[in-house]
């Protein structure tokens, strides 16, 4: 080999090989992840209209409007504090997603709208949602307002007979809605999504 190619050429080939290796590694670890299209776990909506209006009450009598959060991504979930399984599981996943997002979670507001205005007071909601994440907020309103908001966000709910311990339970839509920084409803996340998938979908809109 050393007879066929001079030392100078050997060095050139080695340098070229090394350069190619660095190039492949750069493309594989840096370029490809950025060029690959994001595959959403939820359903994307290209609506030209802003998300349905929302004006509900949070703890301390504070009125919350969707417009309060322009410039931040809002993740809206409809649930209730007496919810035995689906709501805690969803809020845990959302808290997990916030953890994955790290500092960027500051650009996100998670909001739970109570579909049980009869039992959930704003104070109870605040205590419930902050148990999952200190920045989560819970909002409610009178029955007619809650019905209107839930309906417009594609959410069905219906009180069902429960046990003596649980009282009545509420069957409800389990999807999570994402409103982008400009106030457009962009994504519907299924209950089945993992915290990682939710975080990746939210990050796309940050």
């Amino acid at each position: 080999m050393s007879r066929l190619l001079g030392e100078r050429w050997q060095r050139r080939i080695a340098a070229g090989f090394l350069l190619a290796l660095v190039g492949v590694a750069f493309a594989w670890f840096f370029l490809l992840p950025r060029l690959r299209p994001h595959i959403f776990s939820g359903t994307v909506i290209q609506s030209t209209q802003k998300a349905p209006r929302l004006e509900l009450e949070a703890a301390d009598g504070h009125t919350v409007r969707m417009t309060d959060f322009e410039g931040r991504v809002v993740v809206v979930y409809f649930g209730y504090t007496f919810c035995p399984d689906i709501c805690p599981a969803t809020l845990s996943k959302l808290a997990g997603a916030m953890q994955i997002l790290g500092n960027r979670a500051d650009e996100v507001q998670v909001m739970m709208v109570s579909i049980d205005p009869e039992r959930d007071t704003p104070e109870m909601l605040a205590e419930y949602v902050t148990h999952f994440h200190p920045d989560f907020i819970g909002v409610t309103g009178d029955a007619q307002t809650v019905n209107r908001v839930a309906t417009l966000y594609g959410v069905y709910y219906e009180a069902m007979e429960g046990t003596v311990e649980t009282g009545y339970t509420i069957d409800h839509t389990t999807t999570v809605m994402l409103v982008d920084k400009e106030g457009f409803l962009k994504l519907v996340l299924p209950f089945e999504g993992t915290a990682e998938q939710i975080a990746a979908d939210i990050e796309y809109f940050l």
Binding site: I45, Q49, V155
Partner: protein
């Protein structure tokens, strides 16, 4: 001689874009562009009572393609065209291929005072509705306002004499609960054909909702290849 060589090169150079355009046109014609219906907005969530006095919710139809219209049993001739269109689509639904996805038709009455389950059942029979596929339902007035007026954005007004002014509208909703088409019959020459074509396009998207093909369909949404 030199001049001849140069002109050939120039000729080849200028021919390349023409060949590329022709090849692109042929590929476009052969492979056909992907068509998708716009994802307009979320369809409302609802809790209704149907013609058999059972509840019908938006979750019951999740995963199905649903065509909605809005009316009332006392409508008479005013609803003939709308109901005829719905019945025609129901009878011709075999012409479209939506794979394993179910297709349902839901007529929401905004006259709950008159349209009891019994009245709706009779109305359904009169219209020749297949009860397995075409459901008639209504709800409390307040909820109807939220669902029909605010959610489906279909106007109606009670005149108080048993008659209503209303928006004769069809709404096509996909299995993810997203509105994909809105049609007002007075302005369309043939709603039946158009809606059937749109259900077919939706069916093709659903059949390609997984795997590599889904990426092409998502891209089509972003580049708005709307029919």
């Amino acid at each position: 001689m030199r001049r001849k060589t140069l002109s050939r090169k120039t000729l080849i150079k200028s021919a390349i874009p023409v060949v590329v355009i022709i090849l692109a046109a042929v590929a476009f014609a052969v492979f056909e562009p992907i068509q998708v219906l716009p994802r307009i907005r979320l369809a409302p969530g609802y809790l209704l009572t149907d013609q058999s006095a059972a509840t019908l919710t938006s979750e019951d139809v999740r995963g199905d393609i649903v065509l909605y219209n809005f009316g009332y049993s006392g409508c008479g001739e005013e609803c003939d065209v709308m109901n005829g269109t719905m019945a025609a689509i129901q009878s011709r639904i075999g012409e479209v291929d939506v794979g394993d996805t179910d297709i349902r038709f839901v007529t929401i009455s905004f006259d709950p005072g008159q349209d009891t389950p019994e009245v709706l059942a009779e109305y359904a029979t009169t219209l020749g509705a297949d009860p397995e596929q075409w459901t008639f339902a209504t709800a409390e007035p307040d909820h109807l306002e939220n669902v029909v007026k605010a959610g489906f954005r279909s106007y109606y007004e009670d005149h108080g004499d048993g008659s209503f002014s209303f928006d004769p509208k069809f709404v096509l909703v996909d299995g993810w609960g997203v509105i994909r088409g809105e049609y007002r019959y007075q302005t369309q020459a043939s709603d039946t054909d158009k809606i059937l074509r749109h259900i077919d396009i939706l069916g093709e998207e659903i059949r390609n909702a997984h795997g590599a093909a889904s990426l092409a369909y998502e891209a089509a949404h972003f580049f708005l290849c709307y029919p």
